[in-house]
């Protein structure tokens, strides 16, 4: 699964995208965020307030209880501030 990061999530993680291979026990978006927080200081920092992070699967907004089963691309970003 490809992960993409935007705005301060990208800055904190330190890269714009990467391939993730979480274990089979990671079922939901919330599981994935919890798993990412254990992948190093930069992830712990980026996801320290995990509940504020917005997530999109294959370019569609999803909630943290969404299943990541068939996701090709999963995006993490702060609340939007365009317009």
């Amino acid at each position: 699964m490809k992960a993409v990061y935007f705005a301060w999530v990208r800055e904190r993680v330190g890269k714009p995208e990467e391939i993730l291979t979480p274990p089979a026990s990671v079922i939901t978006v919330a599981d994935l965020i919890a798993w990412l927080k254990g992948q190093g200081e930069e992830y712990a920092y980026a996801f320290e307030n995990g509940h504020v992070i917005r997530v999109a699967i294959d370019q569609t907004h999803v909630k943290h209880d969404a299943l990541i089963a068939d996701a090709r691309e999963i995006a993490f970003f702060p609340p939007m501030t365009g317009g």
């Binding site: 993409v4 935007f6 705005a7 301060w8 999109a56 370019q59 569609t60 907004h61 995006a75 970003f77 702060p78 609340p79 939007m80 501030t81 365009g82 317009g83």
Partner: protein, 151 residues
């Protein structure tokens, strides 16, 4: 029933966009436009840096436009959003809606802006005039509250 959605680095021409919705269209009785500008924030701001999620940004704007069309019988809808570095006084976003009558044109235009603010994947970062890199702009409660009107 044309829809134009463009995400671009360069500035745009509001009058040309408005004309595209109204010229040779004598069924159009109303045109509502919104233009959003980069404010200087009392002189503290030297620029805004606009980041977006290519691909998803277009999709999300299309989804918002589709939802507006379900709610109001409007004619043309144009949504333009810039990215990159934008100076105070420059245009950032433009929404234009044409229709037979004003009520639906106003409602659809404001609806699109309200949802664009909270669900289109764009993020602003400030650059300060003192040369320091400013903060990522924080999302506003007022923008979430604006959505309640459309429930």
């Amino acid at each position: 029933m044309s829809t134009v959605i463009r995400i671009q680095r360069e500035d745009f021409d509001p009058q040309a966009e408005a004309d595209a919705l109204t010229k040779g269209r004598p069924d159009v009785g109303a045109l509502t436009t919104f233009t959003g500008f980069c404010r200087h924030e009392e002189g503290a701001l030297s620029a805004l840096e606009l980041e977006h999620y290519p691909g998803m940004a277009e999709k999300e704007l299309q989804r918002i436009v589709d939802e507006a069309r379900k709610r109001w019988p409007v004619q043309g809808i144009t949504v333009l959003h810039r990215y990159g570095k934008i100076m105070p006084g420059e245009r950032i976003v433009f929404v234009a809606v044409s229709g037979g009558h004003r009520g639906e044109a106003f409602a659809a235009c404001e609806f699109i802006m309200d949802f664009l603010k909270t669900s289109a994947p764009f993020w602003k970062r400030e650059h300060k005039v003192d040369g320091s890199q400013g903060e990522w702009v924080e999302a506003k409660d007022a923008d979430d509250k604006a959505l309640e009107r459309w429930k």
